[in-house]
């Protein structure tokens, strides 16, 4: 069985994040608080309740090196929580938004964090030593609708976003005095702050859940029309693929390796997508359920070049032409999964374990070890 641990923390969870050593979990039980639990002797004990927000906390991220928690909320504010003398001390970050903050992520070297919002705006926040203050710099007038998800490229400069206008965009977030020009990103670091590198017009409905592959070569995001989009060679001539699947739409994605993506969403069960040797992505199977036949599910998507002519070019990755078994209900999650987080040891490049949380209030830890048919993609 792929699920190794299940725990119900609340009636409903909006998001969760892990401490650097994975001994603690921060989560929001769909209210204005952030709860921190620690696993001791097989029991989850609530050790802290972070109360500062006025409205529902929409996203949390816990930085792995600096051990700081950032939380964003529908109250339009963000707090950075520092662990000092056994207490979590909040620092208000004024995002300068007029709508709810929806998503947040620390940058890879943790000197910045990005917030997506309902104000059609992305905030890039960084710490100003001289003023002892987190500054929020806005990327405005680029999105036509709410920003539903943000993802940092490993180079710490590029930021990818998805929006309810259906578009996926990549921006430069270079900030003078915070980033250095030679931080490993060759051409992308020449761009100014807020410059749009690329806009992908693949989805014609809301887009959610975006992530970069570990190397930063591939982007994956989902549309609310039961589609997953993969973009290779993000830059002037991207290669885009659209994969349609037969089940309910996804909300969040996670790259397990360069060749494997886990999608979670309204079907309450993680879905595995994988790329073959020719980088063609397709739906493989649900997790926690054996794949019936290897061959039948391998009807790939179709690579289509560049933009413009992408509409209607997606091929179907509809598995099994024969009789389809009824969808796996009554599984481990009982409601929509809206958050997926990797569980990996520092230094490990690949992710074999990850956690999911959703509207059923459960956090489930999944292990891909022992899933033999998936090992080729790991």
């Amino acid at each position: 069985m792929a699920a190794v641990a299940v725990h119900k923390f609340a009636q409903c969870l909006t998001c969760h994040a892990w401490s650097p050593d994975y001994s603690m979990i921060a989560l929001c039980p769909s209210n204005e608080e952030v709860h921190i639990y620690r696993l001791s002797e097989g029991n989850w004990d609530r050790i802290h309740v972070l109360q500062k927000h006025d409205q529902i906390v929409s996203a949390i991220d816990w930085s792995s090196k600096s051990n700081r928690i950032v939380s964003v909320s529908h109250d339009r504010n963000s707090y950075v929580w520092n662990h000092e003398a056994a207490e979590w001390v909040p620092t208000l970050v004024i995002l300068r938004l007029n709508r709810a903050a929806l998503c947040v992520q620390w940058s890879p070297i943790e000197n910045k964090f990005a917030v997506g919002s309902g104000a059609k705006t992305v905030c890039i926040c960084y710490y100003e030593q001289e003023n002892n203050w987190w500054v929020s710099k806005l990327i405005r007038k680029r999105h036509n609708s709410s920003v539903t998800s943000v993802a940092w490229h490993p180079n710490n400069i590029l930021l990818a976003t998805t929006s309810t206008d259906g578009k996926c965009r990549v921006f430069s977030t270079f900030i003078k005095g915070v980033d250095t020009r030679n931080s490993g990103a060759s051409s992308s670091s020449d761009s100014k702050f807020g410059e749009q590198i690329i806009q992908l017009d693949l989805s014609y409905s809301w887009a959610f859940g975006i992530r970069w592959s570990p190397s930063g070569n591939t982007l994956a995001y989902v549309g609310h029309n039961s589609m997953m989009y993969f973009v290779d060679d993000v830059g002037p001539s991207p290669l885009a693929q659209s994969v349609a699947f037969r089940d309910l739409p996804l909300r969040d994605v996670l790259f397990v390796s360069e060749k494997m993506v886990i999608g979670v969403g309204f079907d309450c069960i993680p879905m595995v997508f994988a790329a073959d040797e020719s980088r063609l992505w397709s739906f493989v199977r649900f997790l926690g359920q054996r794949k019936a036949t290897l061959s039948s599910a391998r009807q790939g998507s179709q690579i289509s070049e560049a933009f413009g002519k992408l509409y209607g070019q997606s091929k179907h990755s509809i598995a099994n032409d024969g009789i389809e078994p009824s969808r796996p209900r009554g599984g481990i999650h009982e409601n929509c999964i809206n958050c997926i987080m990797p569980l990996k040891n520092r230094g490990d490049s690949k992710v074999t374990r990850f956690s999911t949380s959703g509207l059923d209030g459960k956090v489930v830890i999944w292990d891909l070890e022992g899933e033999e048919d998936l090992s080729e993609y790991m």
């Binding site: 409905s205 609310h224 039961s226 589609m227 037969r246 509409y311 091929k315 179907h316 509809i318 389809e324």
Partner: protein
Amino acid sequence: MSGRRGGPEEFVEAENAEAIILRIEQKSRKIETLLRQSRPVEALKTALEGSAPKTMDERCKSANWIVVHRAIMAIKDVDGMLFSLDPEYYDILMKYLYRGLSTGDRPTCDQCLQIHEKLTQRAGLGCILRCLADTENTV
């Protein structure tokens, strides 16, 4: 994508409307031939092919719907049809089924509902979602 998200009252005439209509007429003749040869699945495929969903010209859409409707109504064996219909036609067929259901015409609705049930079993809820979520490529 010139007439993007045009309201229903807004009349858009495609620049190449005459060419599209001409193509649909050719398609119509081909479908009649196929139906006479008792090849309803081939007829349906022909009807669904190149149905130009991107044009906002309602005249073209209606013309194509008449052709697709003719092919849909000729389907007797729904299971057999879906068995030999390639998956790439599923999304577009679903869109036309919803168009059929929206007519309110009893025999059309009966036929569309019957196909809808079988198609959903085969293509999943994702197919319905793609149909409902797509406001740009309408049929």
